[in-house]
Symmetry: C2
Subunit: 219 residues, 2 copies
């Protein structure tokens, strides 16, 4: 079992029993999503922006326009963290204090660099699109050189990380279990609805299997 | 129409046509969720943590244990921002560059203070629980004084803010519309599944109407 190193920045204090530094477990959380929250410091203030990402090994890739002020600030700032969270349920307890949510979250600390080579940029943009919609990239019109030129691709190397998972039932005070109060879990899921074709040709085309699969698997 | 002031920190540069500073529109985005991403600076590094919240007027309330190192750091740091995002759909275009998501997001900048009075703390904790599950608080066992004592309630006053919304269809390059590539939107929704009763009394109780309503309205 490979673990990320623990330090002041990523050590879990509260609910340490729910915490992990396990690389595989953290990767599983990262691979279950495609939207991350990137934290950076701009003009002395912490800002968080949601961005699409893809993971390969210990790298997280994000991208944006070369005219994107925020992405440039992120790249310039030496310090960045990335947070990914999946909400899995509402925990309704018998007292206010024990209300909670079930979730899987990971926080990553690392270093950033710009990806320079066109070949690498193209490969990574495919990963990012395919992390959102598996098998999508190969159905698309290839990128123009001018499109690649105005796209900034950033590689974040995970130096250390931690994750927290809550996936259990209600935990109430011992004396509260006899109260006539309903308690339980409401599972929460992010689901895909039926695809809506764009005007023109797509209206008369069969929805591709990989797109339908995405809809089906989330039912 | 009341708007938040624009400054270097909240001005929207990219996709300014999708941006707004409108107080009501921003409040609507905030009221549609209960999980926010709080950004703060710890040891010189930007960290983002997901937290439950509630909004009243221009205040966002968050809470945690008095032993919560992160919440104490947030309170001590003069600089904090809060981000809320709702993912509404995947935008599958004919080229990689025009892939996007439909979403509603708000970013808030403001100042923090600790809520001191027990009466205020209790009222705010009710708001936070009820923002997650409407009408829940009044069904619960009242808080003990010792529970209130070890709960830190923090008030964030919104000084300025901005929001971005994308809620339109695919936008492709003019020359790409004739390509035989499927394009369209996959609507995404966060749904509640059927409630799972806790062991003991709840198994033999009717699920309360407000809990069933939450399930129903998300179908």
């Amino acid at each position: 079992m490979k673990e990320y190193p623990q330090s002041k920045i990523n050590r879990i204090k509260r609910g340490a029993n729910r915490g992990t530094y396990d690389v595989e477990k953290i990767n599983t959380i990262l691979d279950a999503g495609f939207l991350c929250y990137v934290g950076y410091i701009y003009d002395g203030k912490p800002i968080t922006i949601p961005m699409a990402y893809s993971r390969r090994e210990d790298k997280i890739y994000i991208h944006g326009s070369t005219a994107n002020r925020m992405l440039l600030s992120i790249l310039e700032s030496e310090e960045t963290s990335i947070t990914v969270m999946h909400l899995d349920g509402l925990v309704l307890a018998r007292s206010g204090l024990h209300h909670s949510v079930n979730y899987r979250s990971a926080t990553l600390f690392g270093s950033l660099k710009k990806v320079e080579k066109d070949h690498d940029k193209t490969k990574i943009l495919k990963w990012i699109v395919d992390q959102m919609m598996p098998n999508q990239w190969d159905t698309l019109r290839p990128m123009y050189q001018k499109e690649l030129d105005r796209t900034l691709v950033v590689e974040f190397t995970i130096v250390t990380a931690s994750a927290k998972v809550r996936d259990i039932g209600v935990l109430d005070e011992p004396e509260d279990y006899d109260l006539p109060i309903w308690a339980g879990i409401i599972p929460i899921k992010q689901v895909a609805k039926y695809p809506i074709a764009d005007k023109g040709k797509p209206e008369n085309m069969q929805i591709p299997k990989h797109v339908l699969d995405y809809y089906d698997e989330n039912k």
